[in-house]
Assembly symmetry: D3
Homo-oligomer: 239 residues x 6
């Protein structure tokens, strides 16, 4: 079996994390997983959602969007349709949970960091790229808050990154692109921390159920890929 891109089974697409791409945002990162490009910005607001008011803790939340022609076929603009799809809401909830899993919200003070992930171009794996880039944007925003003296220390307890793996023509492969994703038998998104903890697993059999051994093979691939992403995140933040 050969992958459409010619990659080996356990090979990520070329990944880049370009930081400080926004003139305005407190933290920003343009993440590229091959032809999937997501702009992640972190915006600091000095208030928390109503359900947290007066509790002395902060909040991290995320929104996700896709430009209409990020995809091969143009998709209708959600703002024009007047509602976000279930898929959009599912993804933005996932991003927010993933980031909060490595954030000590009690150490933030009563502020909110809103992450906006906007897909400029899509070729599979937009949610995993978004999580990976969002972590960098969030870390930069916290670094900014530390540098201006608002925070004494970064309230991050670990790093977090994500990748999707799947069964493609019977074989487990790492970092599905669109050509693979659209015909995979099963796929799973893994969100892991830099230290190897599991934050989220979302495994879905598209057509036929899969077996536990297959699932564990996907998890092993994800560990490899996320190890590489973690190193790239550290390098981007060290620049």
């Amino acid at each position: 079996m050969s992958r459409p891109s010619g990659r080996s089974l356990d090979q990520m697409r070329p990944v880049s994390l370009e930081t400080n791409v926004s003139k305005h945002a407190e933290g920003s990162c343009l993440v590229r997983f091959g032809d999937t490009h997501v702009l992640c910005t972190a915006s600091v607001e000095d208030r928390v959602p109503p359900f947290l008011r007066g509790q002395g803790q902060g909040w991290v939340t995320a929104e996700y969007g896709m430009l209409p022609r990020a995809t091969a076929e143009r998709t209708d603009r959600e703002a024009a349709k007047g509602r976000q799809t279930g898929r959009t809401q599912e993804i933005q909830r996932l991003i927010g949970r993933s980031l909060r899993a490595v954030t000590d919200v009690k150490a933030m003070g009563e502020i909110t960091v809103k992450i906006d992930c906007d897909v400029l171009q899509a070729d599979g794996g937009t949610r995993t790229a978004a999580i990976t880039g969002s972590y960098v944007a969030l870390a930069l925003a916290f670094r900014h808050l530390t540098s201006i003296g608002f925070l004494k220390a970064q309230p991050l307890t670990d790093s977090v990154a994500a990748v999707s793996c799947g069964l493609y023509q019977g074989a487990p492969v790492l970092d599905l692109d669109y050509a693979e994703d659209s015909s995979a038998q099963a796929d799973a998104n893994f969100v892991l921390t830099g230290k190897g903890g599991i934050v989220e697993i979302q495994g879905t059999a598209e057509k036929t159920p899969f077996q536990e051994a297959e699932f564990l093979a996907l998890l092993a691939l994800a560990r490899k890929g996320i190890g590489e992403l973690t190193a790239l995140q550290a390098a981007a933040l060290a620049r």
Copy 2:
């Protein structure tokens, strides 16, 4: 450690599957996982969504709702607010995917079966109860279509059921109720077929990441619970 309900770690709540509870629906099941009660109805429509028209195949889809006072605190009615929450959309997409994983849609003809899962009372695990009851409602609707001669055979390839497991006070436990769910460190929903195939896994670390061994312990519990649910489904359909 003892569970709030006094159950052993690998013990399900009392589960019942009451069939044919609706005067109108082609298939129906009132499923109870302890104090979580979900009414599942299956409605047959003689058309398919636009993206499937003319392809000679059918479709299975699901909608999910919760009565406002199904919960300890009343929640606002989604119809009154004018939009479904992200959580609702996430759940109904999950139910639909789970059912389609055991349905041979090509053997259905151009019809749609719409499953409605309405939570009459909630005490944790509404989505897993909904999947478990929906399978029964769907099977009854297919049986009805077979009995009237519309279908020659049931287009089901396997059964499907679901349960949630989690880490509660450090220990892996089966079938979280609300008291456990709201303070679990991590929880995972497992959707498995009667033959043991994996359809969906959704694992989420609520506060701190979890480890692979912990995850595998949850999966083992799920296999036990879903084995019991599968037997109950078979018994309900045999009545």
Copy 3:
């Protein structure tokens, strides 16, 4: 003329009022008028709508919904469509007014009781069943507030119940079911108190106008039916 159900002209369907059916609600009642089943819950909130704030009085309001497959043909879910129909809004306004007509809101303190009426199965007369069951749920909620010492006395001045009557094949009949309702020449919903006061009358000629004598015959039937409902309400609350 014989009625589809075989009932005599002035005969109600079998009516039952099952109380305390909800684990969470302060008051609840599952009302059945034959095959019409409505779950009524009463939720107490310790605030009033903005237009009443600071006036030292309470409020009673109602919401109404129908499960999608409560009906012979599945109807679209209002939450999915993003708006409640005019019919839904008309009914929930009617239920609220009916309950307030027997409630001394000045004796409630600044609380709101929200009644949710959800039709689990429909066979005509859902709004009249909802009013009849809602009164029981409301009375139970007030009883709960009295038992915990929040209220000194029940703020109810009377009971209230409702029934629909209509001209079916030229004859006035009591408590229309769906088969009758869909082909009646005229129908009227009557909301009366236990003492016989008129709270609401909604009479509608579906096809041809009706005469005053016919209208008075419907009112007489309603008095008989509501007398029976009032006795059932008292019995349910006495259990």
Copy 4:
């Protein structure tokens, strides 16, 4: 007891029905009940709603709106809020039903007449004025369709008009204005045909239930008022 306006108990406000006030509409009438002014236009469309297609019959429907400053306090514009209130929907359904009760829809052919009732100024009784004026606009539209040969005869079987009556300071009064309506103990809207048939009755006890004798007194007043309105409608259409 004296009425705020100085009218006698059974006296209507000055009523006028100005016809053909719109350059564009097929039929139009500006109706005034004292300071309540409603512009009614009838628009003919050569199609019917989906549920009637291919049945060879027509449809009459109505929409209702109120200019934001028609009222003493400005009310928010429904178009800006993005939804019509329950009250608006209740009223427009009432107007539509009232007009259809005197229309032989099978004699219309497959067309729809849409009545728009827009309240330019409100002083109580907007729905009853709207019904009364709408009948005139509808009759003019049918007359237009007859004059151009589209219809052979007017498909109207009777005329229809409406008035509200109420218990004000203990006395039954005819044609409530805003000052009376806002403090009435009970009020009822009556929609009657020119021949005296009852089309709709909507009686509501605002604060305390009312008695059958009181209700019959209101109906008697309505008959008197609607008799006068019927004569004014005939005169307007004869001009």
Copy 5:
């Protein structure tokens, strides 16, 4: 070239400004530009939008609507569709800006004047008629506030009026009616003050771009027309 209405190239339609047409509004004007009729009401509210609170200044804003059958073909009611069109929003923003350009908001105190412009009948030029009539309604509301002692002086610095001009069959013409507007090559709306200052210019080439000389000819026509409108406004306010 002759205009459909027979007017000369620089001739306005007959214009009238009827004042105090609303029983409730603090200021009102029914403006007619030929068959275009717009009801303008001014409503005073004793608060300002959130972004202005505590700054000691006032605000003037406008909303615009069109009755469904104001037009030759009935247009759907925006309240029923649940959203205002882009055109509606564009026009109401223009009206608000135009009025604020002649209002000293710092001299108003913390109040808002809301102008509602509702088109009762349309024949081209509804936005320019609306601006012209709104100024009169606003001036009357300010006069009312002065007369009751709330304001010491009118906070108006100038008058404002508007007219549309266009290239019709190659010639510049003043005050386009619908027949001209729908086939004009280019049209421009001009909003000028009584003293001749330019408040807004909106020029649009419908089919082919236009030249600077043509544009200046349109501006000259607008000056003439707005001079006449300014005189009519002064006369209306002097009555």
Copy 6:
């Protein structure tokens, strides 16, 4: 007077037009006016809006959006709010009209080109940058359709570009950035063709009305700036 950016009064910001930046779109251009960056994509669809069907002509339309953190303060996501603002709709209507003014829609065949303009970063002048970049994306899409033989010739009759000018501290200046725009006395957006024809003029006095001579000075500046933009467009399309 000196400009915040140090530019001379008639100096544009650095402008760049980067072409073919999207893997998927038929035409694309990332336009930068200084720190204002807009991604413009052109999507070809083989159908036209309903009002044009069967007329053998095409259509060009545009949508506009702004990423939430394109601005100094984060603005709420329109998709999350469920509606586009009036400003957004006004801008996208302007872009569509501007492009159609230089397109021979009869020479396109029954296709639609949808332009999406998404502001990645905003610093004033987003709508004028969007028009300028959209023309390049549109021309590239038409070139693509010509290269694949769908069109025989480009259906463009001219080029089109836009710039804003304003009165800043009393002086007319070219190409307002955000610092200037937010405190300008008046500003005007000019949309001109490459041959010098006027497509759109939108002049607005923010605080005090402006004079004709001032307006003509702004137009002269616009001619200079648009001359430069036209040359840059030609160069970008020649690469």
